[in-house]
């Protein structure tokens, strides 16, 4: 395995939608076994960045690489990438089991492999008692866990999550983060976007996105230490980011 190739690489991504400059030179890099957080307010460009990395969107300028491959033009990427979009992305009129089966077949998983993985994923997401329930009858948290399970069936090396904890109760949120840490320890590279500053501290490294580019990047601990002012208590992430965003606006 070539050690030099990062799991995810975004180099100077630009993308405009009409009058809106969604991405304005966004650059970041994620290694295997790393949990990277794209943190930023609504409309910062987080979703556009994730879609560009997933190969669902062609940037006007710059390029995205997943495991050294072009996600737009190399179909091989799709066998090694998992995506959990922000909005509903599963078939609401199909059951939990039918959704899992459908996405497993699209990834061409052999049946015994699917059975074993589905059982394991249903177990850790605690969805096993609800396999016959339709997706539109799941709670918000259960739905997100099912979406995560669908994105993990083919055991991707890179997992992209777009605001996975949005609208999820605190208990399910904690469970979701615990799951993510488990996968990352297994060597998976995870990119997660979130508008919640308290979640930033659970990432190995974060990038603060604002107006389509990074304002700040680094390990949460180090960013907070650097922002500390003598004689004052350590700032929270929220304070740090609001200060940065206001500084950028000024």
């Amino acid at each position: 395995m070539a050690p030099a190739v990062p799991a995810v690489e975004a180099r100077g991504l630009f993308r405009r939608f009409g009058a809106v400059q969604a991405l304005a030179g966004l650059t970041f890099q994620v290694e295997r076994g790393e949990l990277y957080g794209l943190i930023g307010p609504d409309g910062a460009g987080k979703t556009t960045a994730i879609r560009a990395v997933a190969g669902l969107l062609d940037p006007d300028q710059g390029e995205a690489r997943v495991l050294g491959l072009d996600p737009l033009r190399d179909p091989a990427v799709r066998e090694r990438l998992g995506l959990m979009p922000q909005q509903y992305s599963l078939y609401r009129d199909l059951t939990v089991a039918e959704n899992l089966q459908f996405f497993a077949r699209l990834s061409a998983l052999p049946r015994p492999v699917f059975r074993e993985r589905a059982e394991r994923l249903l177990g850790i997401t605690r969805l096993a008692p609800f396999t016959a329930r339709r997706a539109d009858q799941l709670s918000g948290g259960m739905y997100k866990k099912l979406a995560l399970a669908c994105a993990l069936l083919h055991q991707p090396e890179v997992l992209l999550l777009d605001e996975p904890t949005n609208g999820v109760d605190p208990v399910s949120r904690r469970e979701l983060w615990a799951l993510l840490h488990e996968f990352v320890e297994g060597g998976m590279a995870v990119v997660i976007s979130t508008p919640y500053m308290d979640e930033a501290e659970r990432c190995h490294r974060v990038g603060l996105v604002h107006h389509g580019r990074l304002l700040l990047e680094g390990a949460p601990e180090r960013l907070l230490a650097a922002a500390r002012v003598e004689g004052l208590p350590r700032p929270t992430f929220e304070e740090l980011f609001i200060r940065e965003i206001e500084g950028a606006a000024a």
Partner: protein, 379 residues
Amino acid sequence: MSLASARRQLGAVFRKEVRQTVRDRRVMFLLVVAPLIQTVVFGAAVDFDVDRVPTVVVDHDQSDVSREHARRLLADGTLLRAGDFPGAEAAEHELDDGRAAAALLLPRGLAADLAAGRPAEVQLLLDGTDPNRAATAGAAASRYFGEVGERLARQRLEAAGRPAPAQVVVTPRVFFNPRLKTAPYIVPGIAGTLLVIVTTLVTAMGLAREREMGTLEQVMVTPIRPLWLLLGKLLPYLVVGSFDVLLLIGVGTWAFGVPIRGSLLVLAAVMLVYLVSTLSIGLLISTVSQTQQQAFLGGFLFMMPAILLSGVMTPIAAMPPWLQYLTILNPVRHFAEVMRAVLLRGAGFGDVWFQLACLAVLGVGILGVAASRFRTQLA
């Protein structure tokens, strides 16, 4: 991706589509029950035979002769007596109000003129709103009085001891639909139009729904190729559409006396290529639509001209030449032609190969365009 994997992916999409369709009662109704009801209703309602045109009579002559001519003209069924009026003004009023579509004006002195061998003028007022009805009513009156004039001329010649002039008599012999019934002609066409509506809309909405619901993105990050995805969305409706064709032919035969003179193999072939073309058009429409609403409107934008320019309602030979060439791109035209040819005339592959070839080229070509559009759209 190996072929086995592709087959697995295709099977997954197929199975998913079937599940979603079967679970949605409204879609099932649209697919199966609606075409059945419409065939029965339209087959019974659409009738090009013009008869019983409501006609008012204004008899200024008030003679036995004028009364007899009015009675005979109105006796053959094309015109139906809708009342008698003393003057032309009252009759025109009936036309204005739509209570009558024709008014027969018999002039004063008609009987005396005819007896004396003088020319007479009978007036017919026609409501031209429906040109077909007006022409048929006018023709019926012209034919009747033409025969009257001819008979009178012959009687006068014979009375004068001179031989009657030679006559040319046309003896029509009608093939394929000897009683000139509308239903056997129109039902195959109606089947074609109903099928294009159902199949185009269902696939046009299908992909747009996935885009709208957000499921398309999740599918597109999996390794499935666009062509397999589109085929998986097309095949279930090919099955449903084929079932509809059999249903409609059955109803046509049983309820409307549509004969099945040709080979079922030709029917199966035309059904297959026709459905592939209409389903592919739906897919193509869905690749340019962001929402189901757009797909629905796009579907109608295609279907209205496709139906009106198919030759089902009006003959293609009556269209301007450039438009006639354009209808070669219209799958409804080819389907209606083949259905009529096979059902009514017993045509075989040799007679309809051109239509079958057009449909096959259209179907495969449009599916290819849809797949490539779909691919570039995501890139």
